[in-house]
Amino acid sequence: MNTDPATRRSPVETLRNEPHPDIYDLPNSYKVGLKGPGLVTWLRKENIAIPSATYDMILHNDNSLIVRIAPDEVIIESPDSGKLVCHINRRCDRADGGVYRTEQQAATFLLCGPKTHIVLEQTCGMNMASAHAEQIIYTRVAGVSCGIIPEENESGRNYRIWVDYSLAPSLFSTLRDICDAV
């Protein structure tokens, strides 16, 4: 249900013909959202952990990200298998008690490599290098509103960027061009 890869298209499909070393499109990350005053109760009933504070996140046991974007709202992103997302999609149709499934079609980009901070410094008014990792930050990059999750790993910091499907091509090409220019 909605996770059939044959019918899905990335918003930047025609822009990412050549893999780029600094910016990746992750077309196989599936998202779903839940919103409403009954959110916490419902997730507890479903045995799904919820981050305690707004903008915190939890890594689910199938590697899905559960990100709390408001007291009454989460976005869940599942890699490839889409297991948790599929589970929510199945269960939430029957959900009641003030929780509503929200369609989440944002694109996910990964900004990584040595140019990352130069690119962000040229596009984002927030000091990303000093931002907390593993927390989502809603800000503007190159004039586009998006959510950014800094992720720490051995080679430094990556930034996971969630951006509105309709603005994804614009942001992707801007970031890619800057990666090429710097």
Binding site: T54, I69, G125, M126, I137, Y138, T139, R140, S145, C146, G147
Partner: protein, 87 residues
């Protein structure tokens, strides 16, 4: 560039926000006079001093209130609607 502190997202450059006008008392349209209503709809008060204003954080979709002195553009404090006492 000015910094505005969103109660949810913290201090951000002003271009992340949109101004939403002064917080004004809405007369009860059921029993107010035409003149009272017209005054509410059409008149704005530009008197220098501290104003309560609506501001919107674009990226997260957050409305909040900023108390701003429009004489010198000083932001006195910001808070969510109805959470005035908690900050």
């Amino acid at each position: 560039m000015k910094i505005l502190t969103c109660p949810i997202n913290g201090p951000r450059p002003i271009q992340e926000f949109e101004y939403g006008g002064e917080v004004r008392i809405i007369p009860n349209s059921g029993n107010c006079s035409d003149d009272e209503w017209a005054d509410y709809v059409f008149n704005r008060n530009g008197e220098p001093g501290v104003k309560r204003e609506w501001w919107y954080h674009l990226a997260s979709g957050t409305w909040f209130i900023a108390e701003r002195n429009i004489r010198n553009d000083d932001i006195v404090r910001t808070y969510l609607w109805g959470k005035e006492g908690t900050t």
